[in-house]
Symmetry: C2
């Protein structure tokens, strides 16, 4: 039996961790992972060369800066950032975000720095 073949309650999963900008894997399907992350503060400009990525706001709000505009995402809203598009996520207050992206996606995209995560926890 697939370990993920059980339901996932988002609120319950979000209660299991507190650190920011550290996505946790909560599901996998086809070639993608479903991840949950808490964001607070500003990330940095980056892009994913080969992967489209979905941000869905579960709680709070998230500002996605693109080079040509800014989009506020609120609870119940999602946005897909196509591959190759530079973006900068900012959360003034803590935001709870569901991410969907290919398994190959690295959190910091084309940038490698101290915030790059090489292994994500499953919760």
């Amino acid at each position: 039996m697939n370990e993920f073949m059980q339901k996932v309650n988002l609120a319950e999963k979000f209660s299991l961790f507190q650190e920011y900008w550290n996505p946790k894997i909560v599901g996998e399907l086809n070639d993608s992972y479903v991840k949950l992350a808490k964001f607070k503060g500003e990330f940095f400009w980056h892009q994913h060369e080969a992967e489209d990525k979905l941000f869905f706001v579960v709680k709070g709000k998230l500002l996605i800066k693109l080079r040509d505009r800014e989009i506020w995402l609120r609870e119940g809203e999602f946005m897909i950032i196509p591959r190759g598009i530079e973006h900068l996520p900012i959360a003034e207050e803590e935001a709870h975000v569901l991410l969907l992206e290919p398994k190959s996606t690295v959190n910091t995209g084309n940038v490698q720095n101290e915030r790059t995560l090489t292994r994500l926890e499953r919760i």
Copy 2:
């Protein structure tokens, strides 16, 4: 510019249609579509041979029957049905559901009948 490169508000999109068991495409990323559907009543047993599928309940509740058990999904809960697993979705009352599945996925899986949709609307 990608037509989907704008935010999607789930409640707003759900207000645009009323028919049941007729998923609407609201986003695409990588090889998958994000779809919204309203369910009411009982679908029928089917499986998807090559595609894993995610059901996320946005409003109401959804019963997923598997051959060996039943899972109730409530608001804020999702479940992934792996390829090849027979399932039967049932919504006693109207339920609003977000689906994520490969573009190749047909709504009725291995079954072809009057409820099979060959073309999905984008909203």
